[in-house]
C-alpha cells in the first residue's frame, strides 16, 4: 500500500496506488443554505444521462433531506456504524479511514446495499429532526431542523471505488481528476458499489456493469459547467477546478472558497477519500450533526457565512454561483461587480453586488396601457 497525503484529514493515509496529482481537480461547491430540493438538478442529470433501461433507480445526482433521508437508504449511517466515530485532534484525523480500517492490503471498508435500498430515493423527505408541538411557531424558534443535501459523485482524490476494483476498470483522468468506469472492462463485480462511501457507483441490471456520474466530461472538456450545476434554479452550485500542483490561487473561486477561506467543507472527510464536492454548511443546523457530516471547521464556516455582507471578496465569489453556464476559473471584485473569466480567459460573467431596481409607472404612455399589479 502506498502512503498518500490527504489534506482534508491533515495526514498521510494508506491507499493501494501511488499516483501523481491530476493537472487540476474538478470540484464543486454546493451552498446548502440555498437549496430548496426542487430536484431540477436530478431531472437534468437523469434526462440526459440515465434515462435508459436498467437505469430505473439510478440517480447520479440526488437531493436528500438530512438528517433522515438517504439514497440509497442509510448509505452513510451504515458505514459510520462499521467505521466507528471519527476522532479529530484539531484538524487531524485520529481515527482510521476506510482504507485503513480493514488492515493493510485489504479492500476498503464498505457495505453493499440491496436493490430495495435504491427503490425509494426520497424516503425521509422533509422529515424534521424532531416532532414539533402544535402551535409552537407562536413561541419563537423551534428546535426541529432539517436541510437538503444535494449529492453527486465526489470525484475523490483517493477514490475508494477505484481502489476496490480488481480489474482496474475504474480510472481517474490525469487532466481533470474526473473518475470514470471503463464501460468495456467492467464485469459487474460490484466491489466499487461496496467500497464507495457515498454510494455513487451504481449497478445497471440490464448492462450488468457499474455506472457512475461522469462529471459531464464532454461539457467540462469544452469549459462548460455540469448539467446539474447549470440547471440549478436556486443557484446553489459552483463548478470549477482546484489547483493541485501549486499553492491555492486567491483569484480561483474554488481555491479561494475551499482552500483559502475554508467556507465550504468536504462531506464525511473521515472516510478518507478526499471528496471534491464541498458544502457550505447550513447555518441553522446544530454543530454536532454538522461536525459529523463535514468534519472540523463547521463553526468557523457558519460564522463566516453569517458575516458575508462585510466580506466583500468572499461575497463576490459566492455571487458567481449559477451566474454562468461556463466554468469560472478566475474572478475579481471590480467596484460594485464580481467578474468571472472562463477556461479560455474570456469574461464569462459580471454580477452586480446590488441588483438594479426599476420602477415602472402605473400608466404606460407608449402603449397607452395601464399596468396592474395583479400578483
Amino acid at each position: 500500500m502506498a502512503k498518500r497525503f490527504n489534506w482534508q484529514i491533515d495526514r498521510e493515509q494508506a491507499y493501494p496506488y501511488e499516483a501523481p496529482n491530476p493537472q487540476r481537480q474538478v470540484a464543486y461547491i454546493f451552498d446548502t443554505n440555498k437549496c430548496i430540493e426542487c430536484q431540477t438538478c436530478t431531472v437534468a442529470c437523469k434526462t440526459c444521462w440515465t434515462s435508459g433501461k436498467g437505469q430505473e433507480t439510478i440517480f447520479w445526482n440526488n437531493v436528500e433531506t438530512k438528517p433522515y433521508g438517504g439514497y440509497p437508504h442509510e448509505w452513510d449511517s451504515r458505514l459510520m456504524k462499521l467505521n466507528g466515530p471519527a476522532r479529530w485532534r484539531e484538524k487531524k484525523l485520529d481515527s482510521l479511514t476506510v482504507f485503513e480500517k480493514n488492515g493493510e492490503d485489504k479492500p476498503p471498508l464498505g457495505h453493499l446495499p440491496s436493490e430495495r435500498d435504491y427503490a425509494s430515493p426520497n424516503l425521509g423527505e422533509d422529515d424534521l429532526s424532531e416532532m414539533i408541538d402544535q402551535g409552537s411557531h407562536f413561541d419563537g424558534t423551534h428546535h426541529g431542523w432539517m436541510f437538503y443535501l444535494a449529492r453527486i459523485c465526489n470525484h475523490c482524490d483517493h477514490p475508494a471505488c477505484l481502489a476496490a476494483c480488481p480489474r482496474k476498470a475504474i480510472y481517474k483522468r490525469p487532466e481533470d481528476g474526473i473518475v470514470l468506469v471503463d464501460q468495456e472492462r467492467c464485469r459487474g463485480y460490484q466491489h466499487c458499489l461496496e467500497a464507495c462511501p457515498y454510494k455513487k457507483v451504481f449497478f445497471n441490471i440490464i448492462n450488468r456493469a457499474s455506472e457512475k456520474c461522469i462529471g459531464c466530461f464532454p461539457r467540462v472538456e469544452q469549459g462548460n459547467a455540469a448539467l446539474c450545476v447549470e440547471s440549478c434554479i436556486g443557484k446553489i452550485r459552483l463548478h470549477g477546478f482546484l489547483s493541485t500542483n501549486a499553492e491555492p490561487r486567491e483569484d480561483n473561486p474554488l481555491d479561494y472558497i475551499v482552500k483559502i477561506r475554508k467556507l465550504a467543507l468536504p462531506c464525511y472527510p473521515q472516510f478518507g477519500t478526499a471528496p471534491n464536492v464541498y458544502y457550505i454548511p447550513p447555518v441553522h443546523v446544530p454543530d454536532p450533526f454538522l461536525d459529523q457530516l463535514f468534519g472540523p471547521g463547521v463553526e468557523e464556516a457558519k460564522e463566516m457565512y453569517r458575516n458575508l455582507k462585510n466580506d466583500r471578496r468572499l461575497l463576490g465569489a459566492l455571487m458567481l454561483f449559477g451566474a454562468s453556464p461556463r466554468m469560472i476559473t478566475r474572478f475579481e471584485v471590480q467596484g460594485d461587480e464580481a467578474v468571472g473569466w472562463d477556461v479560455d480567459g474570456e469574461e464569462a460573467v459580471r454580477v452586480p453586488f446590488t441588483e438594479p431596481t426599476y420602477f415602472r409607472k402605473h400608466f404606460d404612455s407608449t402603449h397607452g396601457a395601464y399596468r396592474h399589479n395583479t400578483a
Binding site: 435508459g52 430505473e56 492490503d105 446495499p113 436493490e115 455506472e211
Partner: protein, 340 residues
C-alpha cells in the same frame, strides 16, 4: 489536553500488553514443543512464498496472507476418455454420462489475491471428461441447495470455469505476465437468459412499471432486446454500446471464453467455438462444456502437442454467498491426460 494524555497512556498500555502476551505465547510454545517458533508476518516476504506460482497482476493483489493448502498425496488426474460419441451438450443429465468415470476434486477458497473468499461453501467438484473424433466434453457437477441465477444489486450468479495453460509454466492463478491461460466460463444467469429470455427488469420484478423509456418501440414492458435496439434508445445503454460482453441482452450461449495473464486481466475472446449447458436438479448443478476439435485452435493445438501432460484447473462460484470475480473456489493445476 488531559484527555489526550490519558488516551495516549491507554494506547501505550494496550500495545505493551499485547506485546507481552505474544512473547509469553511464543515462549510457552517453545517450552512445550522444543522447536524453533517461526512467526510469519504477512507480506514481509513476497518472494519467498511457496504455493504462489507467479506474480499476481491484480489491482488489489497485495501480499496474500495465506496460500492454498495442498492436500496430502498426489493430485487427482483428469483422464479424458476416448468414446465413440461424446454426449451432446443439450442434456447434462443424459444417462450416457453415468458410464464415464468421475474424478472428485477438492476446491479451496481463493486466498492468493484480494478480493479473497473469506469462507468456502463448496468443497467438491465432480469432473467427467470424454472426447470423440469431433469434440471434447466435460461434465462438471457440484452440490448447491438452490440455484442462484439472477444478476442484481447485491445478488450474484452461480458459475463454473475451466482453465488451461497456453504455455508451459503459466501460474494457476489466472496465468502471469507473458504466460497466458485460457478459460471457459459458464454462468447460471446466462443459462437462464438463454432458457427463459433475458433476465431484465420485467423478469426480475414482474409488477414493475416505468413511465417512460425514451425512443422505446412496441409494447410495454419494453424488453431490453427488441424494443430498445434503435440507436436513439441505445444512447443510454453505454456498456452495450461499448461491446461489453456482460451487456448482451440477446445472448445465445451461456458460455464465455476468456484469456488472462494474471489476476484482474481476464479478457473476452470473441466468437468461442465452445458450447455449454447447465441444469440444476435435486440440489446439484450439472454443467456440460464442450470444445470442437478444430484446426488453428490454440487450445486444441496444445492438447494435441502432448496429450499425456496437459493441465486443467477449475473454479466454482456460489452466487448466494456473494461469490464473483476473485471471490471463488479454485483448484491448483491438475494433471489432465488425454487417452489416445
Amino acid at each position: 489536553m488531559k484527555r489526550d494524555f490519558d488516551d495516549r497512556k491507554i494506547l501505550i498500555g494496550m500495545i505493551g500488553g499485547a506485546a507481552l502476551i505474544v512473547v509469553t505465547m511464543i515462549t510457552a510454545i517453545f517450552l512445550v514443543s522444543r522447536r524453533p517458533v517461526v512467526v510469519v508476518v504477512p507480506g514481509a516476504d513476497n518472494a519467498g512464498r511457496s504455493g504462489v506460482a507467479g506474480p499476481a497482476d491484480s489491482a488489489a493483489a497485495g501480499s496474500p496472507s495465506t496460500t492454498i493448502a495442498v492436500p496430502e498425496g498426489p493430485p487427482p488426474e483428469i483422464t479424458v476418455a476416448k468414446v465413440a460419441a461424446a454426449p451432446a451438450i443439450e442434456d447434462p443429465l443424459d444417462p450416457a454420462w453415468d458410464k464415464f468415470a468421475a474424478v472428485e476434486v477438492d476446491l479451496q477458497p481463493q486466498t492468493v489475491a484480494e478480493p479473497m473468499l473469506a469462507s468456502a461453501t463448496v468443497s467438491k467438484l465432480r469432473v467427467q471428461a470424454v472426447r470423440d473424433d469431433n469434440r471434447y466434453a466435460w461434465r462438471l457437477n457440484w452440490a448447491k441447495a438452490q440455484p442462484a441465477d439472477v444478476s442484481e444489486i447485491g445478488r450474484f450468479s452461480d458459475a463454473v470455469a475451466m482453465q488451461f495453460p497456453l504455455v508451459d509454466g503459466a501460474p494457476y492463478t489466472m496465468g502471469g505476465p507473458g504466460m497466458p491461460v485460457r478459460m471457459l466460463h459458464w454462468k447460471a444467469v446466462w443459462q437462464r437468459d438463454v432458457d427463459e429470455g433475458f433476465q431484465g427488469l420485467a423478469a426480475l420484478y414482474p409488477n414493475t412499471d416505468v413511465d417512460l423509456y425514451w425512443f422505446a418501440q412496441g409494447k410495454r414492458p419494453h424488453a431490453a432486446s427488441g424494443s430498445l435496439d434503435n440507436p436513439q434508445a441505445q444512447q443510454w445503454m453505454i456498456a452495450a454500446q461499448a461491446d461489453n460482453p456482460m451487456a448482451d441482452t440477446s445472448r445465445e450461449h451461456p458460455i464465455e471464453e476468456l484469456t488472462a495473464h494474471g489476476f484482474g486481466s481476464s479478457a473476452h475472446v470473441e466468437g468461442t467455438s465452445s458450447r455449454a449447458r447447465g441444469v440444476w436438479s435435486d440440489g446439484q448443478w450439472y454443467v456440460v462444456i464442450d470444445r470442437p476439435i478444430n484446426a488453428n485452435d490454440p487450445l486444441i493445438e496444445r492438447f494435441d502437442s502432448d496429450p499425456d501432460k496437459q493441465m486443467i484447473a477449475f473454479a466454482v462460484w456460489d452466487g448466494d454467498n456473494a461469490n464473483r470475480g476473485g471471490r471463488k473456489h479454485i483448484t491448483n493445476w491438475l494433471p489432465m491426460r488425454i487417452a489416445p
